[in-house]
């Protein structure tokens, strides 16, 4: 009897489940139907992906709108995500054969993608782009061997971001171009002493891979050789780290726990928390530093060795045409618009660094205001101090960036000596590059 009663009562639930499934199935089917109505309008549909935040999305969408206006037969669908996930997604798309037509790539990934033949040559063939308006030395940063696999989508340069307000209140002068590493130590010590130990002169650069590159470049060496091996010796690395450790011990640079927060980005680093008065960074990050600080910040060129700053014009990011693209010609047109056209420059602003086309950059510099003006003026004043741009870093570069943070972090927390750390680094770095 019981069992008989149960089914009639319970069958309501069963009906509900079936109804839900029916609804789900019909929804799924409508979604399916909506997909097919794409390219029937005679237009070319391009896809373009980049990384960045919402504010960059707005400026990029504005530039795309201008491109579509000038090319009524092309429609551009855009995809964007945050930097880390963007690269994971791109790797999946490339492996699965479904990457967008035009891709924004990171310099560190360029060699890897170029070697797996996923990027088209931009100097000839279907995706030919006119990049004669760019500085040829800077444009060659997008080369892999003889192939122009990418073009820079913005220029940035190394700098020290310095807290002018803090220095004024302490009575320490802002460092000037042409200063040396000895001056860095004196400057840092002065800030430390005058603030009674509350503020360090600078964030310890020992975890920063790119700062080490500048250090080597000033001495006529580089991180990598042409064939993608390590271009420096263990003694070079020990020299850099011993100098940084000296700064840290004298109080000129931040202690280990504060240095570790550098990895969190400009909003939470020692400069933003007012525990350091200067920090090594690329000038394209200046606006983010300025937004996170109440104090007024200025840009100062790197310290010199024998008059050399070791600074160079670095592509903040690059653009490439995907080898699997069905519309390489149109993708190349969009690429050319984004690196050459004054209208694109107007819409994009400088959130990606200086505009690639030199002629357009000049007029952009002339009309710049606010944070953009600080960066453009800094770049213009230091153009003569730049060394040539090195070739793109090999595959594995990304691992070395985190390896540097981990091992120097261990050294500064007192877990390892500089010599032992440098030895470990060399061994692990060679392994990472050999893969």
């Amino acid at each position: 009897m019981r069992i008989r009663v149960a089914p009639t009562r319970r069958s309501k639930l069963a009906t509900a489940v079936i109804a839900a499934t029916a609804v789900a199935a019909s929804l799924t089917l409508t979604a399916c139907g909506g997909e097919s109505g794409g390219s029937g309008d005679g237009k070319v549909h391009l896809s373009f992906s980049w990384w960045g935040d919402a504010s960059r999305a707005k400026s990029t969408e504005a530039a795309i709108k201008l491109f579509e206006k000038a090319h009524p037969t092309i429609e551009v669908g855009t995809q964007y995500a945050q930097f880390g996930p963007y690269n994971q997604k791109l790797a999946t798309q490339i492996a699965g054969g479904g990457a967008p037509d035009l891709i924004q790539i990171d310099w560190g990934n360029q060699s890897q993608y170029a070697r797996s033949n996923t990027l088209l040559d931009l100097s000839s063939g279907a995706a030919k782009v006119d990049f004669s308006g760019l500085d040829p030395a800077f444009a060659s940063s997008g080369k892999d061997g003889d192939k122009q696999v990418a073009l820079p989508f913005g220029q940035t340069t190394q700098s020290f971001v310095v807290d002018e307000t803090e220095l004024k209140s302490l009575g320490v002068p802002v460092p000037e171009a042409g200063w040396t590493w000895d001056d860095v130590a004196t400057f840092g010590k002065a800030v430390h002493d005058r603030s009674k130990g509350e503020v360090a002169g600078l964030s310890d650069p020992g975890t920063t891979w790119a700062a080490f590159q500048s250090w080597l470049y000033q001495r006529g060496k580089d991180l990598y050789t042409k064939d993608g091996r390590l271009g420096f010796t263990q003694a070079d690395l020990e020299g850099f780290w011993n100098f940084c450790a000296g700064l840290r011990k004298s109080g000129a640079a931040t202690p280990a726990n504060q240095t570790a927060t550098l990895a969190n980005g400009p909003a939470e680093d020692p400069l933003a928390k007012n525990t350091a008065a200067a920090e090594w960074d690329y000038d394209s990050i200046y606006a983010s530093h300025a937004a996170a600080n109440k104090d007024h910040l200025v840009l100062v060129p790197l310290p010199t060795v024998g008059g050399k700053t070791g600074m160079y014009a670095k592509p903040s990011m690059l653009l490439s045409v995907y080898a699997g693209s069905k519309h390489p010609k149109e993708a190349a047109e969009l690429l050319s618009f984004l690196v050459n056209d004054p209208k694109a420059a107007g819409a994009l602003g400088t959130s990606r660094g200086l505009f690639p086309n030199l002629g357009v950059r000049k007029s952009q510099t002339a009309s710049a205001t606010g944070d953009d003006k600080v960066v453009s003026d800094y770049e213009a004043a230091n153009a003569a101090r730049l060394s040539p741009t090195p070739t793109a870093p090999p595959k594995g570069d990304g691992q070395l960036i985190t390896l540097m943070q981990r091992i120097y972090g261990g050294i500064s927390f007192g877990q390892q000596s500089v010599a032992a750390g440098a030895k470990d680094f060399m061994a692990q770095a060679q392994q990472a590059l050999a893969k």
């Binding site: 149960a6 319970r10 097919s36 960059r56 995809q79 880390g84 980005g265």
Partner: protein, 298 residues
């Protein structure tokens, strides 16, 4: 510490609770320690709520969890942060795929579980083993081949790659959960149903499915929360801004190379937590039911 440990495990011992002064002291101590633990656990949430009302300059510079100069701007800024679409659009997208995922999981996994638990067919134990092993496969091993397949189908940038697998019983964890639950239901009930004239389908629909309700509810809650919070699958398959879901929208507030907008991000995070919170609240009673009463006993 050991005292509060004991308190956490067993609550105030009834023996002392009934006595006068000393018992009250114990009970007070117990409550105090519980309050401290709750504060520690809840602090991030309090900080998040406070931060969502702080102006941008106050977020990094002050350690206070509550705002000095409260503002509602973060909510409007976060809502309209992306060009062309509002955050409400992301909520709708998330809701659609989460509800479909729940429906798909319940339907397909309960059917599969019924087959494994009650029907006998050749290769059943081997297939069951294979299914359990798929729980152990890391997601990153599957994503590239899956992407290639769905691309061939032309399903990229639609809801299909996220929803269809749920209708095909690919979530082995839920099948496993339901199988274990169904095995606890006495077989005699099936026999009785058969005597009354039910075939396998009617036995499933009218007898077993209602009895597995606690397991179904547990699965529904988890399927909803997992889909609502899932970031990577949705990131990979959705390309256009108007297909974006809440987790993707939230991730766009943080960028290492650009500005990080903590205020709007916290404001939208609170809104994103609400559905999960409400869903949990609504089904919490049933969840406890499921844990305490497992079908029929005796």
């Amino acid at each position: 510490m050991s005292e509060s440990d004991q308190a956490l495990r067993g609550g105030p011992p009834a023996l002392f609770g009934r006595h006068g002064g000393r018992g009250r002291g114990r009970s007070l101590l117990w409550h105090l320690s519980v309050i401290v633990v709750v504060l520690v656990v809840v602090y991030p949430v309090i900080w998040m709520i406070g931060t969502s009302f702080k102006p941008a300059t106050e977020i990094v510079t002050s350690n206070r969890p509550w705002p000095l100069h409260g503002t509602l701007k973060n909510f409007s800024a976060g809502w309209d942060a992306n060009p062309g679409v509002t955050f409400g659009h992301f909520f709708m997208n998330s809701l659609v795929i989460s509800v479909l995922a729940v429906a798909g999981t319940l339907l397909s996994c309960s059917l599969a579980a019924y087959a494994f638990a009650r029907l006998s067919f050749p290769g059943r134990s081997a297939l069951f083993a294979v299914m359990v092993v798929t729980i152990l496969l890391p997601y990153h091993v599957l994503i590239v081949p899956q992407y290639a397949i769905f691309k061939t189908f032309g399903w990229i940038n639609t809801d299909l790659p996220v929803v269809v697998p749920k209708f095909l019983a690919t979530e082995a964890f839920f099948i496993f959960l339901m199988v274990q639950f169904m095995r606890g239901i006495p077989k005699e009930i099936d026999d009785a149903a058969r005597v009354d004239g039910c075939g396998p389908y009617r036995t499933f629909l009218w007898v077993l499915l209602p009895l597995t309700r606690p397991a179904l509810i547990t699965s529904a809650i988890f399927a909803f929360i997992w889909t609502w919070n899932d970031f990577f699958t949705q990131l990979v398959y959705f390309n256009n801004t108007d297909k974006f879901t809440v987790p993707i929208g939230l991730s766009l507030f943080v960028d290492q190379t650009g500005m990080t907008s903590y205020g709007p991000m916290m404001a939208m995070s609170i809104l994103a937590l609400l559905p999960v919170f409400l869903f949990f609240l609504a089904f919490q009673r049933l969840l406890v039911d499921g844990a305490t009463s497992s079908g029929l006993k005796g």
